[in-house]
Structure formats: structure tokens, C-alpha cells
Amino acid sequence: MAEKKSSLDAVALGPSASADTAETPQPPPVTAPDHPSVAGLGAKFPDAILRHDIVAGNQHILFIPPDRNLEILQWLRDDPGQAYDLLRDVTAVDYGAGTPLQVVYQLFSLTHRRALSLKCELPLDALEIESVDSLWKAANWLEREVYDLFGITFLNHPDLRRILMPLDYAEGHPLRKDFPLRGRFTRAEQTRRALSQDLEHYYTEQELDLGGDSQALPPAGKETPEETGLEVVE
């Protein structure tokens, strides 16, 4: 008798690339006029445009080298001909199967009413890229989220720590394709960890420092003065 297959097997394996793409429809035809920023960027940084895609008919995506992201983005923000003053989004894409992770910047210029996407490809063994927090403060939390869920380190980020997952989360980075849907640990281990957290788990080191002795937290599971050993002030 064949091995019994459970419907949860697919969940344990994780999402996979679509196998049969024979019936895949064609993408929409390109309707967009030339994007002025593409020509401008090509003239200013001659070898910086690694690839230029037009998706969904009118959305321009430029692939740029990851080690030059800061200077290119700074120019796009400060040059009056570009003036991309709004950083809409920073996110990442993982296609799985060992392909590089892509960091995606969505820019918008209120002055010229233009949108532009930029992508940097990071190989899996060098997941580091310069933070753009110095250009747009909006990048602070967006980059923290990418760090949390994809494990990409943003260099010179002022406060790079996990944001959605717990600070001491030990199972990895959930939005990577190699991360199984139910997490890496067993349910029993996840429950054990959840129940054995002490109070320091809920505070950052910065906050614990600030609290100081006068607001020290009692050790886990101990509440009375005799148990905690903390002095009582009358």
C-alpha cells in the first residue's frame, strides 16, 4: 500500500514555485511612455542600471547594484528633475530555490507625479544593504519589518530589531520561502517557550536600562518580596 499522504504535507514543505506554467497567459502590453527618470539615471550613473523592466503595462522597475543604493536614492531624492520626496514602501521578494532576495523601493514624486520602483538583488550569502533611513525617516520601520521577516541586515540603521515577531524569536525569518508555514519548532516546543518567558522578554535592553534599580522587574514567577529578594520601601 502506498504511503499515506496527508493534506498537511504541502504545508510542511512550504510554498513552491509553480510547476506547470504552460498555460500562463501573456502579461499586458506595454502602454507607458518612456520614463524620464530612467534616462536621467542612466546619464548620471552610466553603469548603474542593471535591468529595466516594465510590468503591468506602465510600471517601471530598475535593477541597481546593491552597494550603490544610497547614492542613487539620494540623487533621486535631491535632484530637482527627479524629486522623489515620498518613499512609499520598502519590502523584499523571495522567489525561493536559492535565488537572490530582492529589496524593492517604491518611490513617488509629488512634484512631478511620477512613480518609480527600484530593486536590489542580494545573494543569500550576503544579505546586507545600506539603510536609507538617513534619506527618508519612513524607512525606519519598513526596514525593520524586512529585517524581521526576511533576515536582511540594513547597515547603519538606527534601531534594527525585530518589529512584528517577538524580540527573542528563535525560529528564523518567516517570509522566506524555506520557512515552513507552521514554524520550525514543534507545537510542543513553541508552547513551552511561550509559557516559560520571563518579564524581561517584554522589554528591550534600552528600556530595562532606563528602568534602573528603582524599577527593577521581579524575576519570573516570583511576586512576593520574600521570593524576589527586592527591598521593600515603607
Binding site: P27, A56, G57, R88, D89, W136, K137, F179, Y203, S214
Partner: protein
């Protein structure tokens, strides 16, 4: 562990003044062992289970007396990784996940998601579908703003507007229910169309609602606009300059309150918004009061769009779904009576629709700000990546800056004024 104590001499007998009345001297602290009592800042934890944080938001504040020196927000208590779950579902199955994010304006999220998928696939929806979606989005913008006005007023101590706005919200709940069968978890859209055409008389229900709302808005404004307590608690509180607001990525009424006229409906129009006659209100000082005024005016502008869209809907009585068998399901009658249609129905439901290789970032103006849906396809029936650019996530990131130097009591006002919903922040 040393505790600093201050004792006051309370047992003094008052001296007699020249007119024979006792003169109460100021209470003077005596015997202070350590004079610098200001130096020790205090750490106060607010939330996650606190009614004024509008969800499971936790704020750790460093206080100097009652002044906030620094605030560190903690989020993630509602994190359920919708984006990961979406990678295991086909394109249409993602729709129910979207309305669980912003449950205060669910239809906008349903619609924004399918719009992004349609842009990626190059589908042009029918005129009737466009107008229905515009009506739904404007209805839910009002839906979100009504809740915001009610809870904002309640947070600063005015209870009555909450009752007025929730009565109006109840009408929208009923309209949701008539169309989709659900009050909050609407899941009304499908790629290429809607779940169904609107029920008989639904548009008249929207019209009646749009005619009745201005009275409620007038009543609320009468209660709040020139109320001394409201002015004192909101004017000059949580002010941010337009330049800073843009740099921090604030969108929606938060950036418009600071005088920046950024609205996706005007700056990057979709669904013929450029042909509607409406205006974008902007504030001057960027404080809580301006954000309140902007949202009140936005509701009136949304009503204008509603009336125009309802007028156009009368002339658009074509089909709701696109005429493409690879995307749209056959009618239920056909699927139950005709073999080919049943196979067609079965294939679309079991396999799911296929999207071309590509991706799309599609921004719409949600009630909280710019909502961007980013979808990536590798040519299969499931998204490789589905990313939501959450407006209130980015808006909340500005909270520590808005709070700097304000009193602890203002934290409640400022937090309420930026209009967050934790379901979408944590996703």
C-alpha cells in the same frame, strides 16, 4: 534600594496678618536629602490591553514628570502573517484575508487587492464594476472616518458624537450586509469583477444614506468644532510640519493636515477619479485639530463623489464581470444545467485563475492613507509574494516624533488623531 522621599511640614500655625486674618504661607518642603528629584525619569508601560490605544498597541514611555521624553511603540500582538498565508492560496482566495486587515473599511482593501492583480494581468473591468467599486470605496471611506470621529471625540472626553456617528455606521453595516451578506468581513470582490451584481434597490439605499449624512456631520461639528475643551486638547497638539510628515511617509489625512495636498485619487488617479468633481481639503498647522477638520471635510467630499457615481451608475447597466472565460465564472444557472459550463466552473474553482509572470504595485487612497498592494507572480495560480503597504503602520512609526515634549494626557489625543487600526499594522 534607596527611595527618595519628600516630607512637607503641615503642622504650622498660620501667622496673623495686619488685618487680623490668618496668612497661609506656602507649603515648604523640609529635610530634602537629595535635592535633584527631577533627574530620575520614569518608565511607564501603556497597553497592550488598553482601551485608548485602539487595539493591542503597547507604548513604553519615558516620562519626566508628566512630560514624555521618549516613546517606544511595540507592535506585533495581532501578527498572523497574512502575507505568508497568501502564498498558499490562489489569487481569488486571498480576498478574504484582505478585509481582516482594516475591518473598519474592509471594502477598500478587497478592492485594492483585486485592482492590483487586475493591473498585473492587464484586465480592464467593466464600467458598471468600476462605478460599483468607486461607490463602495467612498462608502467605506466614510465608514472609517465616522468611526474615527466618534472614537477620537470619546478619547478627548466627548461621548455624544460617538452615538451619532455609530448610528450612521449602522446604516453602512446594513448596506454591506445587503450586498455581501456580511457586515464586516465582506470579501465582496473577485478578480475581474464582483461577487455578484448589486441587489435590487441597493443604490437607492446608498443614495438615502448620502442624503441623510450631512445632517449628522453638522450635528457633530456643532458639538466639536468650537468646543473649548476640544480646542484646548487638540490645537497645537501633535503638530508636525509638512516636510517632516512627507519624510516620515505619512499619508492620508495626516499629511494633508500638515498642508501637503497628497491624495492618490488626484496624484495617481485610478477608476476615472480625475473625472469626478471633488476637492482635497488640507490643513495649515498639522496638529490634531487640523487632522480632525480634514477628515470631516473628506466625508463631505466623499458624499459628492457618491452622488456623481450613483448618477453615472444609472446609465451603466452592462455586465458586472469581464467577459473572459479564463477569469470569470459562468452563471450559476449555466453551471448547474450545462456540461461545458460545469467543467469550466470546476476548472476555475479547483485550479484557480492563472496570472502572467510579472508584478504590480498599485496604490489606492484608503481611509487611513495610501494603501499599496504589491503582488508578484511567477506565472502560476498563487502569488509568489503578496505585500500590503499598510498606511497606518507607516503612520504609527511617526508617533514617537509627534509625542516628543507633550504631556502624557496628550498621548491619548495624538494616538487617536493618527487613525490607526492594529489589524492592518500587524497583519
Amino acid at each position: 534600594m534607596a527611595q527618595k522621599t519628600v516630607e512637607f511640614a503641615l503642622g504650622r500655625s498660620p501667622e496673623m496678618g495686619v488685618d487680623g486674618k490668618p496668612v497661609m504661607g506656602p507649603l515648604a518642603p523640609v529635610d530634602i536629602s537629595e535635592p535633584d528629584i527631577e533627574s530620575d525619569n520614569m518608565l511607564v508601560n501603556i497597553g497592550p490591553q488598553h482601551p485608548a490605544t485602539h487595539g493591542v498597541l503597547r507604548l513604553v514611555c519615558e516620562l519626566d514628570g508628566e512630560t514624555i521624553v521618549r516613546c517606544i511603540p511595540h507592535i506585533g500582538y495581532l501578527h498572523s502573517s497574512f502575507e505568508k498565508l497568501g502564498e498558499y492560496r490562489d489569487w481569488n482566495q486571498v480576498v478574504p484575508l484582505t478585509d481582516r486587515m482594516d475591518y473598519l473599511a474592509p471594502l477598500i482593501y478587497n478592492i485594492a487587492y483585486v485592482m492590483s492583480v487586475e493591473a498585473m494581468m492587464g484586465i480592464e473591468v467593466t464600467e458598471r464594476c468600476k462605478l460599483t467599486r468607486v461607490i463602495m470605496m467612498e462608502l467605506d471611506r466614510i465608514f472609517g472616518h465616522l468611526l474615527w470621529v466618534g472614537t477620537f471625540a470619546m478619547d478627548i472626553g466627548a461621548f455624544t458624537p460617538f452615538l451619532y456617528t455609530f448610528e450612521e455606521r449602522e446604516t453602512i453595516y446594513t448596506l454591506h450586509e445587503e450586498y455581501t451578506g456580511a457586515r464586516i468581513t465582506t470579501s465582496a470582490t473577485r478578480v475581474g469583477g464582483m461577487m455578484s451584481d448589486m441587489p435590487e434597490g441597493w443604490d437607492q439605499g446608498v443614495r438615502d444614506f448620502a442624503n441623510g449624512l450631512p445632517n449628522t456631520l453638522d450635528e457633530v461639528e456643532l458639538l466639536l468644532n468650537e468646543n473649548g475643551l476640544v480646542l484646548g486638547r487638540t490645537q497645537g497638539i501633535g503638530a508636525i510640519s509638512g516636510e517632516d510628515a512627507l519624510n516620515m511617509g505619512l499619508t492620508g489625512a495626516n499629511v494633508r493636515g500638515s498642508g501637503i495636498s497628497y491624495d492618490v485619487r488626484k496624484d495617481q488617479p485610478y477608476y476615472d477619479y480625475e473625472t469626478y468633481d471633488f476637492e482635497i481639503p488640507i490643513g495649515e498647522y498639522g496638529d490634531c485639530y487640523d487632522r480632525y477638520l480634514v477628515r470631516m471635510e473628506e466625508m463631505r467630499q466623499s458624499l459628492r463623489i457618491l452622488h456623481q457615481a450613483l448618477d453615472r451608475l444609472k446609465k451603466a447597466d452592462g455586465p458586472m464581470d469581464v467577459d473572459d472565460p479564463r477569469i470569470s465564472l459562468p452563471s450559476k444557472t449555466d453551471a448547474m444545467n450545462d456540461m461545458e459550463s460545469m467543467i469550466h466552473h470546476f476548472k476555475l474553482i479547483t485550479d484557480g485563475i492563472r496570472a502572467p509572470i510579472g508584478e504590480s504595485y498599485f496604490p489606492v487612497e484608503a481611509s487611513k492613507g495610501e494603501l499599496g498592494m504589491y503582488v508578484v507572480s511567477d506565472g502560476g495560480t498563487k502569488p509568489v509574494r503578496w505585500r500590503v503597504r499598510p498606511p497606518s503602520f507607516v503612520n504609527l512609526a511617526a508617533l514617537p516624533k509627534l509625542l516628543e515634549g507633550h504631556l502624557l494626557a496628550d498621548l491619548i489625543t495624538i494616538n487617536a488623531s493618527i487613525d490607526i487600526v492594529l489589524g492592518e499594522i500587524d497583519r
